[in-house]
């Protein structure tokens, strides 16, 4: 999906909720590895004041790191206040781990400074690319799944993890194109990158559903083929259906991963099957375009929380290739 725009300067007439003093991150209530196995929400600018004022009961929050790479200002100060009360995860959208030209050292340094300042519980990025010939294209673009691309991805992950001094999570992408010269399936590419670099996985269930539809593969086979013991976070989000006419004039659909709606029932179903294998895991509700009022977002997160709570009562069997785990009744949980 394109990276959402979150750069507006608020009008000076708005009521000031966030005022100094800045809060030192070292006083934060939560330790570094404290993202709970609950539902979290993506923290977006329109909700920050409300989150600070009302302190909603949500397990944790995730930001897009690039929205906070400013030298200073009210946004960073607000983030430090949020960090005092919530476990925080930093999700990158601009590092471009799949770029053949390697990583931007300045950008790595800016990210490191942000991580040092707010000490996130998790840091993650995408298995995709955004930068070519120095230009940032503001989208999470697909890689060909070749040995060459895998070697480049692993070199870049190694570079990032050595600068950050800690493990990253890498997220499976959603995509609309596949390449004729790919040499392996996406799950093998993901699994091999994790194995070679020691990074963890961020499993985006909506992305699996979207890509499975767009490239006609089986979502459950994808999940079964991954080393699930490396999954430390799950994402769920909404998507929409776009219709194209093929050469015979017949309607064909592509799922567009816009993070702009409630989670599709088929994605909740897949999420439930994933949880049955994985056990409870930090799960993020992402909503980036047509951002709704906070209560709508929290209600979606509450669905994930109910599914997680059910799963907590069922022994997890995180063994790939074992499908016969009891699956909770999703319909009942949704009521």
């Amino acid at each position: 999906m394109p990276v959402p725009i979150d750069s507006a300067v608020p009008a000076a007439t708005e009521r000031a909720v966030i005022e100094p003093p800045p809060y030192p991150a070292s006083h934060a209530r939560f330790g570094r590895h404290a993202i709970p196995a609950r539902a979290g929400i993506g923290l977006r600018q329109p909700h920050i004041d409300q989150v600070l004022l009302e302190a909603p009961d949500v397990g944790w929050l995730e930001i897009h790191s690039e929205n906070y790479l400013a030298p200073g200002g009210p946004r960073l100060r607000a983030l430090e206040l949020v960090r005092r009360d919530y476990p925080l995860s930093c999700h990158g959208v601009g590092l471009s781990l799949g770029s053949a030209e390697g990583l931007d050292r300045d950008h790595l340094a800016r990210l490191k400074a942000l991580f040092d300042r707010i000490e996130p519980g998790l840091i993650s990025e995408h298995v995709s690319w955004s930068v070519a010939e120095g230009v940032y294209l503001n989208d999470l673009l697909p890689l060909p799944y070749t040995e060459e691309a895998l070697a480049i991805l692993c070199r870049n992950i190694d570079h990032a993890q050595s600068v950050f001094g800690r493990q990253m999570l890498i997220e499976n992408p959603s995509s609309y194109v596949a390449f004729a010269h790919s040499e392996m399936p996406e799950w093998e590419f993901m699994a091999e990158a994790a194995r070679r670099t020691g990074c963890a996985l961020l499993l985006d269930v909506n992305n699996i559903h979207v890509s499975a539809h767009n490239h006609a593969f089986d979502a459950d086979a994808y999940v079964a083929a991954l080393p699930l013991d490396r999954v430390e976070e799950v994402h769920v989000a909404g998507h929409f259906v776009r219709t194209f006419l093929d050469v015979r004039g017949e309607a064909r659909t592509i799922l567009i991963d816009d993070h702009g709606a409630q989670v599709d029932q088929a994605v909740w179903d897949l999420f439930t099957r994933v949880l049955a294998r994985l056990g409870p895991v930090p799960t993020l509700m992402e909503w980036d375009t047509n951002v709704p009022d906070l209560p709508v977002l929290l209600a979606e997160a509450a669905i994930a929380d109910r599914l997680l709570a059910r799963q907590a009562a069922v022994p997890a069997r995180p063994v790939p290739g074992v499908p016969d785990v009891p699956v909770p009744d999703v319909q009942e949980v949704m009521r």
Binding site: M1, P2, V3, P4, I5, S7, V9, P10, A12, E14, A16, V17, E19, E66, N67, L69, A70, P71, G72, G73, P74, R75, R77, A78, V93, G94, L95, S96, S99, A100, E101, D104, D106, H107, R110, V131, A132, E133, G134, V135, Y136, L137, N138, D139, L141, P144, T146, E148, A149, Y176, V177, A178, F179, A180, H181, A216, F244, D246, V247, R252
Partner: protein, 268 residues
């Protein structure tokens, strides 16, 4: 069925070649080289690639519209989208944080032929860019008024002030502050019959960016201090620009707004 051209056939490493082809296709619309690499299936490669192309162009145009809301209202959404497409091709983002994207808009508009009928657009772009820069500028403790009072009288004229990181000064021969101000409400703005010049002070206080009109004297005074001139030299410059400049009032305005980050007395 067209022959699929393998990436890397021009001597470049395959992935670098693929990414260069995609970049060209996304920014310029020359998509043949990129779509040649894509599997079709139920949906054609061109249709699949267009999803990315629309994403890139629409999201970058939205980033520009977010930074330049008044420009967009002045020229209309359709013209803005048209201008943004040209801008994105000439000045694509070179850093991945979009809060830093769009700084060439003033220069771009000054040389964009379809925009020449609205001569104040480049200065309006400077004002709006200054506002974004101010919002994301580093934090700094302002110099308290008491610091100046503590300077011995004989040293006052040689004191130097450094402006805070969020302070921006935008001078224009056009009435850009008043036009900008007229666009802050939701109702249709009226700014007919205005003429320049306008001098605009932009600074951050607490969580907010303030935008204020100031006189030529104070504008010249602050600009001179920013260039490293002493208090006496800056006051002289301000009086030359505007004989009515009031040094006491100007200093009070600046200190009350916390515009100074440093105060340097002369070396003993």
């Amino acid at each position: 069925m067209t022959e699929k051209a393998a990436p890397g056939t021009r001597g470049t490493p395959p992935l670098a070649d693929l990414q260069a082809r995609f970049k060209r296709g996304l920014l310029t619309g020359d998509i043949v080289d990129a779509t040649a690499l894509i599997l079709g299936g139920a949906v054609e490669p061109n249709d699949r690639f267009e999803i990315y192309r629309n994403n890139t162009r629409a999201s970058l145009a939205q980033a520009l519209a977010t930074t330049y809301p008044v420009i967009q209202r002045l020229v209309g959404e359709e013209f803005f989208r048209f201008a943004a497409r040209q801008y994105i091709q000439i000045h694509p983002p070179m850093v991945p944080q979009l809060l830093a994207y769009g700084g060439e808009m003033s220069t771009f508009l000054a040389h964009f032929p379809p925009a020449q009928s609205v001569p104040y657009l480049p200065d309006m772009a400077r004002l709006e860019w200054a506002r974004t820069q101010s919002y994301f500028a580093p934090d700094a403790e302002p110099v308290a008024a008491g610091r100046l009072a503590a300077v011995p009288a004989q040293d006052l004229s040689a004191v130097q002030f450094g402006l805070g990181p969020s302070v921006r000064l935008v001078g224009s021969a056009h009435p850009v502050f008043r036009i900008w101000n007229a666009h802050q409400g939701s109702e249709a703005p009226s700014f007919k019959g205005l003429s320049g010049p306008d001098y605009t002070l932009i600074f951050r206080t607490g969580s907010h960016v303030r935008v204020e009109a100031i006189g030529l004297g104070l504008f010249a005074f602050l600009t001179a201090l920013d260039q490293g001139l002493t208090l006496a030299e800056a006051a002289q410059t301000a009086v030359e620009a505007d004989t009515g400049f009031d040094l006491q009032g100007g200093l009070t305005t600046a200190l009350a707004r916390g515009l100074f980050a440093t105060l340097t007395p002369p070396a003993p």
